[in-house]
Structure formats: C-alpha cells, structure tokens
Amino acid sequence: MFDDLRDLYQEVILDHGRKPRNFRRLENATHHARGDNPLCGDRMELFLAMEEDGKIADAAFQGRGCAISMASASLMTETVRGKTPAQARALGNAFRGLAMTGTCPDCGAELADDMERLSPLSGVHEFPSRVKCATLAWHTLNNALDDNQEDARSE
C-alpha cells in the first residue's frame, strides 16, 4: 500500500530512526543547544565537545521526534565529527539544499562523501511539511556553534 514511500523511508532512515546513534548526553560537552519543531512536536537537545584545535571531537543528542528527525540527527552526529565549525556549517547548508530540492548541484568534491552518507534523507524534498523534520538537527547545530541559548526552530 505504501511502497512508493520507500524512497522517503529508506531502510537506513528507519534503522537510524529506531536506533539513533550517539543518543546520549555528552558529559564533557563544550557547546549545547535545544531544537524544537512545534508543528509536529519534535524536540531535541544537542551536545558538542570541541577539541583544542577547534574541531568537533564528539557530537551527541537526545530527544523525541519522528523517524525523519531522529534519523537526521543521528546521521548528523556521525557526519560532523572531526569537522571544523565552518566545515560543519557548510555541510549543513548543502544538506538543507538537498532536503529542499533533492539534489545538490553545488556540492563539490570535498563534500561528496558526507553528502553521500546523508543522501538517504533526500527523499524528503517531495514532502514540504517534512523538510523541517530533516533540517531541525542542522539548525540546532548552528545554534550550538553560535552558543545561542534560544531554541532552534526549523522554519
């Protein structure tokens, strides 16, 4: 009945959605932010531990939400590790483009691997009201990097 939804709910998504990776508090977090999607009730708390060299040493999150938002947060924490804030933000921008359009024509070679890993979420672009679920984690990441204490909102 829902076979054509396998594009959106790929096995990776369902798996990360059910068993999100890095789903814990980070006791040694240096950065931290909350994210909130009031429409569907997704809520998350994101933790980052930065190295002395300014790179993201560790990323983890906690929260509740739909399969898309949980999977997106899970994949994000895996992907940003070892990145500088600037790299992480650039990746977030590229991902937002992917989530909204389904492709990322501007994604150069240096983003290719990471985008590949995030690509199972590209199906979301066909579901305008679900794009926010996929991008919430990345909005929250920006806020954490900004040390912004206001809740992130995916609009």
Binding site: F2, C40, G65, C66, I68, R130
Partner: protein, 415 residues
C-alpha cells in the same frame, strides 16, 4: 432554496454538494478528508451564496442610504438572525460577529475578564482546552489584576472531572467557568447542563467553547442556560473569517469594547466618543459581510439536513470507528468518554504521529498530526503528539474502513 435535501440522510447526495470531494488530487487517489475538526469543507450552497453576494448584492453595510447598501445590510443582519435561531436565543442583538472562536474568547477575556471581573476572582478552564480557550485566560491571569486561573482535571477516560470542578468552585470565588463543550482531541462531549448547574450554584458564569460541539449537536442556549457561547464558521461548513460570540445582553452591555472605530460609536468628538448599542459596540470597522452571508448559507444547509440526521449519522460513524480502530493491532485511542463525538486521536505503537500522517496522506487520507492545539492535554496523557481523524457530514463508513485498513498497513510498513 437550491439544494434542498431529501428527508433522511443520504451521504452520497451530501457528498455531491462538496466540490472538493471530487476535485482532482495529486496522485489521483480519492480524497478521504478526515480533518473536519480542524476545518470543514464547504458545500456549493455556501460558495454560491458568497458569489451571489459579490455578484449582485454587495455594498458596505449600516452606512449607505441607497438601495444596494440596504440590501447588503439586510442580508448581513439576516445572518445575525439566523445565528440567533441556530443557537435558539431570542434576541439577535446578543450575537456578535467575530473572526473566529479565538477572537470571541479573547473578547470575553478582555471585556469581561479585565473590564468586569474583580481582583480575587478566578476563572476555571479544563485540561482539555484548545489553546484558544486557555491562552487568553493565562494572559488575563498574568495581566496583574489579581485574577486567578484554575484548571479542572480530566479523568483517565478523558472526561471532565466534575468532582474536581465542584472543589474548584467551592470557595465561591470563581467568576467564570470557561470550558469546551466538546474536546477537539478526545471527542468527549461535556455534560454541559451539569456544568451550568454546578457553576451557577456557586455564582459563577459559564462560557462554552462550542467550536466543535455546535457542528455536531443541536444547540439550545435558552434551555442550556449558559452565559457566553462561542463558535467558529469555518468548522460549520462556512467560510473562514467569521465566528460568533453570544452573550447575555446585560453581559455584552457591561463589557467595554476592545476595539474603537467606525460603526461602534454613536457620537464622536475629538474629546470623547459614545459607544453605540450592542452588538455594534463590539463590531468596530467593516465587518465580514460576505462571510456572514456564507455562514448564513452554511446554517441553512445544516438545518436543511437537520440535526437529528446529523447526530444519527455521526453516532453510527463513531461506533463503527470505535470498533474498527480498536481492532487495529498496536493502535491506542486517546480517551474513552461515555458521551463522545466523531473525533479520534490515536497513536500507533511503532510509528511517530508525523510519520504516520505522511503515510496516510499517500493513501489520500487527510488526518492531522501533532498536539492539535491542545498541548497540556497531551502532556497530561504523556504524549508528544497523536494523529487525529475527525468526521464531517460527508464522512462515510467506507472511509472509516479505509482508514483502519491503512493503519494496519502502516504498522507493517514500520515493523
């Protein structure tokens, strides 16, 4: 009248009145619209009435001395009369047109709450209120006027806890009980007469949020004896932009106006203004003329079907849905009130509400996902959100079956 309905209830015939139900859809699947509780679809009679108004009888009201303006004023005031009859109140001056229920409740919270209630008094709401009937009272509480807000509990079955209501009323300081007459999440129909009796016995006025109830049950405010009542046009198969505040004449007269402007004054100098009589006093500016005409047509439409038929149809749908949905593995329905209407909030054990609604949408089924503007109720039941199916006069048994079937498939999809 065009579109007179046959006696009895012929859902096929009714569906033909709603153009959207046969409009093309993105993936060609028939629309199974189960979100009437958020806003109902519009029958062609309503669309035609609005079109006729704009094409043949439109002008600003209350102002012109020319024929066209008289005609427009008559149809606008006829709508007010139709609303009064719909609620069974004798005096149509007690009908104030608003944008929606939300505005109507806020007007009472401002006009009666800030304008008439005194420090030391309290307002009672319940845990199952729509935000429209909660936030205005929080704002009143926080306005620094010494007005307290008390919250009546909801039982595990999703009913208003009347024993708790009695406790809350006991000290005689409650000025107003403002509760929903039918929950937009649980479907619970509140025992309105009991609430009035309990409140009045302790000197409290009663406001009912009839946003859901007025759509599903015949209303007789004269018999009910409440003091304020609100409903919203767009859920009653009418247009957006129009709602109703009913209040006893003396209460509406005592309320200072919230907005100033044209039509609501009888004399204006630079120094001061005199308010016009009720209801004009509470209707500043050009009202929603075309929308009032549309609401009138919507009322005529449901009256032509008749509430006996509407209630019977809904009872049948509700019982059927209860049986069918209970049988879906892993599905739990929120609330189990004795007296309930055609609104079902549910969760599936292995799917988030938002994911579930995306699946159902693919099957052509429109349900809402989230907290349905009733966040405290979800908190009370420990839920982040639910899906909600809500029925209208055009909903069929087959659609309920289709929903139950799709839910079964959805559970497998996420397994």
């Amino acid at each position: 009248m065009d579109g007179v309905l046959r006696p009895g209830f012929d859902v096929t015939r009714i569906r033909q009145d709603f153009p959207i139900l046969s409009a093309p859809t993105p993936r060609g699947k028939p629309l199974v619209f189960l979100d009437s509780g958020a806003s109902a679809q519009k029958p062609r009679q309503v669309i035609a009435a609005m079109t006729r108004c704009m094409e043949t009888a439109y002008a600003n009201v209350h102002r012109g001395a020319y024929n066209l303006s008289e005609v427009a004023t008559e149809s606008f005031e006829a709508a007010r009369g139709a609303v009064a009859k719909f609620l069974n109140v004798a005096d149509s001056r007690e009908i104030v047109f608003t944008r929606n229920s939300t505005e109507a409740i806020n007007m009472v919270a401002h006009g009666h709450g800030r304008g008439v209630m005194r420090a030391g008094q309290a307002v009672v709401v319940s845990e199952m209120e729509h935000h429209a009937n909660l936030v205005p009272w929080q704002m009143l509480r926080d306005a620094g006027r010494g007005i307290e807000l008390r919250v009546c509990r909801v039982t595990d079955a999703g009913e208003l806890d009347l024993a708790h209501l009695e406790d809350l009323l006991a000290d005689g300081r409650v000025g107003l009980v403002a509760v929903t007459q039918m929950s937009n999440v649980l479907g619970t129909v509140v025992p309105a007469e009991r609430v009035v009796a309990l409140a009045h016995a302790k000197g409290a006025l009663v406001l009912f949020d009839g946003s859901q109830a007025a759509v599903h049950r015949r209303q007789d405010l004269t018999a009910l004896g409440c003091d304020f009542y609100v409903f919203t046009g767009h859920k009653l198969y009418g247009p957006t932009g129009i709602g109703v505040l009913w209040g006893r004449l003396a209460l509406l007269e005592a309320m200072p106006p919230l907005y100033g402007g044209g039509d609501m004054i009888s004399e204006v100098t630079l120094e001061r203004s005199l308010w016009a009589p009720v209801p004009a006093k509470h209707e500043a500016g050009t009202p929603a003329i075309i929308e009032a005409v549309g609401l009138h047509a919507a009322i005529d439409y449901v009256n032509a079907i008749g509430f006996d038929a509407i209630e019977a149809h809904e009872r049948e749908l509700t019982e059927h849905a209860m049986a069918k949905l209970s049988a879906v593995e892993g599905l739990s329905i929120l609330g189990a009130a004795q007296d309930r209407g055609g609104v079902f909030a549910f969760s599936l054990d292995n799917a988030h509400a938002h994911d579930l609604s995306t699946l159902l949408d693919r099957a052509g089924i429109a349900v809402r996902a989230g907290r349905h503007c009733a966040e405290p109720l979800h908190t009370r039941f420990g839920l982040d959100g639910t899906c909600r199916a809500s029925f209208g006069i055009y909903t069929t048994i087959e659609e309920v079956d289709f929903l139950a079937d799709a839910l079964g498939h959805a559970r497998k999809f996420f397994a």
